[in-house]
Symmetry: D3
């Protein structure tokens, strides 16, 4: 099967990172393609940036859905811990779409009762809690700790970011007595096993968790329900700068959406689209 | 004081309608300006459209915040029942920002214990419930009824939309035994008093409710907290189509945001910007 | 419009204080009248005192409702943080009735996600939490701090009460990472702006918040629903000491209640009933 | 031991009824005394009446607490389904105080997972739900049905009230699939076994349940905690009509409260104060 | 009446202890019989041991239900704080069955609003919280403290276990500001009054609480509902080692269950089965 | 990898069925072994039977854990919708253990917001709801419908069970407006795709869902946390009939558990243990 992992920001190094993390859990026969939008912020650390990341995510889904069946993804991962645009992406995509916060929290509750999240900036803590509530894990999510690290600092050579994340994970596990720790930023994906080994409790990377989940959904032949809120959106023009996002009625069967134009920009699959 | 009511869709008749509804509750000395984005969908009836409406809302806030103090709004109303972009708008605006779903639910719980929402399309019901939960009104919101009316149908001459809304409000009040009914679409704003008189329980229009609330917040000299998640977003470039939304560090004090360019389009205040 | 603010205790200085706080947010055309009961405890710091304050509140509502239309209040504020007698007052009053705990919590959630309450005595903390739950703000109310200050000490010349309140507000904001602080006692009303300026997060005074809210409800022509639990109470004799509280069927339309006797005592509007 | 059952209204027939129901579950050695206030409404069917019933309940507790130890009750039952004045009574009484809604809900959850309440008037339904939430039984309480019967009608010779209650209990059990039915009015106490036999699920009368519970608490030597909100209320004058309710500091140990005057009226034990 | 207290582990000293604790709250006319299973672990400190304790509990219920009416228990107490097998026991027993965690939490909420639990091992804390949620006391249960004491250590001569429990109870009461403390292990039963006297808040022993509760239920003639999930289990063979637990259809009326064989072992009533 | 699917009842046809369902979602390289206990009830339809099924489940886990590494399962699925013994099994197993109710609910919330469960007997409905609450899906689980079909009837040739399940799934989807339907019994596993195609919403079989989930967890190298409640249970003798379940301290590292005896019976892998 073919899984498309969408990095919602426009930083190529992050796209490569989430691609690697996803491929590490790909089963034989699964191809992982990591892409990033042609538009949007370099990283997502505020509600404002999250809102601006969403059109780019939708662009990537629309572009992929317009591919011929043989090249079309079976499922999508949205690889930013705020799970931006998840509901909208579900309306567009034929296959299942899973966010990495969602996936990480699901996985954490399967290996223990309570987990803590370790995230980047303090200001993103309330969003993490809101998502925990949205997904049913308000009680399971015992605490959210912030490292006070900007997302892009995680990857800067010479930064002490890795040590900082490790220390916060250890603190979260100890102080809260949780069963597991969730890494609250896609940029921490490659720390997962290292931190887990160091602190002695399961540590969950949402990119791997989401990639594992969508493979499982495809294996079950399950996809987003079309019965209610996730039915294909109405076809309707969109004005101004966002005009390329207008949807036209598909020539064929309902649900077969494609953007009016080929989309505002070409998708940007990362160099090694392989499982 | 100066209240800017943002209609998140690009349909002028809706902008005029929400402007009238807001002005009806303006206190002496309050000026209401109703505007609409230069970009985005003609109406908001899906997660996809909601996501695409957000940049236009943020554009309108950024444009208004860039005005000289004398012309700058003291507060904002986001006039779509899904409360799109509310958190992001709060990061940008100096004054308070209130959504109409939020406001209507607050008002309804002040005149009774339980309320029902009557909304447009069935597919928007889960979003209405999600908002009720987000605002603390999961228990107070006894039911959400859908009229199965597209938003723009509400305003079409000769349509039976008004009767349909009235019937659903009556049904909701009777079948659920609620104390109040909330109109779940900005397009229903002008039905508020008529329906209330007909069904004998308070009927709440979110546009009026939000306008009343923000006036009260300004009178209390209260605005969005800058202490945590709603601090001004980081200044950071935005790529591609959305580049005009990049923020640059303000020359003066922090929090004094202005978009890099004058913004992707001029604001569109409706003709009679008056209290 | 005419707003009657009822101080539920019998301490005149408190009545004057809440009157000033309410008037500070009155819009042009609004008249604020601050009154106190002829009966009841000097301050409310226990469940016992709260119970004993309620008849006096109801007396004041009944007296005001018996006034000729031109002098009758359009709405009421109950100015004690326990919101005593709120449901009963809603049954008696034609116009909306809002409590100050209720109002402050509503306002706090409009300027941030989570708030802390700073109240007087430790023993009142559970009541504050119970109200937060009642109003839907169990999650939004992150903490309740007690200053361990008796209510009347707040106003005693030479007391260090103001410093104590300020310190607790600062502590609450810092330790809990909340977006806003709610003053949990009507006696703290005049500290609102001073404390807010000192601690850098919005500080909400319930008297101002409630006065703002009821003005907004009146502007929306909304009042307490008569459809269910808040319908006018049955007319029925009351025995013994409380006999004056017996209700007789109104000569005219239902809902037009007036006590059997002119009421157990004359209302006590404070000297400057002006907006 | 000595249990005082307080009927919060001033209708003697109700006092006798709750006395009988309590005595039916008295263990050997337990004396039940059923009393009623000297003041207050003839029945409690609204928030207003509930508020007016509270002073009379507190009067009865204060009078009993002022008795010499040999005659003093070991525990109290407040026999109105709204549990009026419960928190305040707990501050006054040395022994435990239990309300009949509280007790009935506790008992119902011990004989099944979910219960329905069958109450008198529709307008009291929200109060019943609020109490269920307050006591932790929001989920266990599957439904509240109203018979639309005034309280005093239950006892009127020739009324069809008993049949109506039975029919509603049967409906509640069948339609909701609950494990048990709670009688939501003290006036239904004597229907308990008859209805239970007729509908085939456990039916709980709160008066019996509360009497059973307080006997158990006394046997365990448990009484209301004095550590926090239920400590003895401050001694403080009370003004006007309610002056007799002022508390003075006890000569002896703290917690030994007695009203300033002998109280506004003599207690009214029902004729057969016997277990 | 006749109350059978089942100690779910196979340690005789614990059986004797819970028997004493139960008898201390027996009313005149109540006989308490404390028994233990013929099979299962010596103490219950893990999910694994809890699971293995359940067959022995069910054996004891089945044996007792097979007794002639005159010797048959009127009610049961399951005396392990994890409340193992409670739902299954309810299906088997004619009379009510109450667990000690359940009972202690019910009692604690009748003498205060919030309680803390002091339990044995840290690993049992999540189970205690899960039970609090199951019974509706998620909010009332403010904290669970572990003494890190194995259950059987509580009874070892010369151990400092009693001091450790006392210290943790004091800490729990102070740090959490709770109204009451619940002893989270049957092995702590005899510390109840001593600890309560020392720390000044009510301390609840679940064995006494459950014994008090079931006596009250019997007095009310209430037993487990047979209408739904607690109906008698289907008669069906059981394979292998557990074959003696197979149920056969009763000769007489439904609900009159008895195991196929006399049960896998004889019940073990403790020496002094007396009220 | 090697996945062991444990059918908790002793009916071979069910073991074969769950094996087939699991293998249908096995990725290349995954071997599925379906086994059943040597002891326990023929089907699980009551709390009593669920309790009696648990020892057999634990026996199967212990036997598998005692295998040499090359033959030892990487993960387990407990294939009964009540998720019996899940917590205890997690304490015993090195790899992750997932229950089918848990898994089905997780999967359902990834393809829609709200789901309904269609289960076998009415009496199992409350258990299904309890599990939904335990896993965080109390709100997502909109309804539980019972077909009133005994588990073993599902497989009986000539029965109308399949039609009955289909009709209830259709009813659940339509009446509740849910996004997905969860099959609430392992015995319905093979109806999944057929029913889904018929009713037009995603239908989730827990056996497939759990098999997919554990494969994903193994791919992520995640297993049950050993940090708290799921640490290996204490080594301790077990008395009587269950003596074979006693645990002895492992010779090597902690966590390396093995039962005292080789276990009460040999595992019973179904004939085609292949992915």
């Amino acid at each position: 099967m073919r899984i498309r992992v969408i990095n919602p920001n426009t930083t190529r190094a992050m796209t490569d990172l989430v691609g690697r993390s996803a491929r590490a859990v790909a089963f034989p026969g699964t191809t992982v393609e990591a892409v990033q939008p042609t538009m949007g912020p370099a990283s997502v650390e505020s509600h404002y940036e999250e809102a601006l990341a969403v059109p780019g995510i939708l662009e990537q889904v629309a572009l992929a859905e317009a591919l011929p069946p043989v090249a079309r993804p079976d499922a999508y991962v949205v690889a930013c811990f705020g799970d931006p645009g998840l509901d909208a992406a579900r309306e567009l995509a034929r296959g299942p779409v899973v966010g990495i916060a969602e996936a990480a929290m699901h996985a954490a509750t399967l290996v223990g009762r309570r987990f803590a999240v370790v995230t980047s900036l303090e200001r993103t803590v309330p969003r993490a809690r809101e998502l925990a509530t949205r997904y049913g894990f308000a009680e399971a999510c015992a605490a959210v700790y912030a490292c006070e690290l900007p997302v892009l600092e995680l990857d800067r050579p010479g930064s002490r970011a890795r040590e900082t994340v490790l220390e916060h994970c250890r603190l979260a596990a100890t102080a809260e007595g949780v069963d597991a720790v969730v890494l609250g930023c896609a940029g921490m994906a490659d720390l997962c096993h290292e931190v887990g080994a160091a602190i002695g409790v399961p540590v969950v990377d949402g990119v791997a968790a989401a990639t594992a989940l969508v493979q499982g959904l495809v294996a079950q032949r399950l996809t987003t329900s079309r019965a209610g809120e996730y039915a294909a959106p109405p076809t309707k023009p969109v004005a101004g700068l966002l005009a390329p996002f207008g949807l036209q009625a598909p020539p064929g069967r309902p649900g077969d959406l494609s953007p009016v134009s080929p989309g505002p920009g070409a998708g940007a699959p990362s160099p090694r689209p392989r499982g």
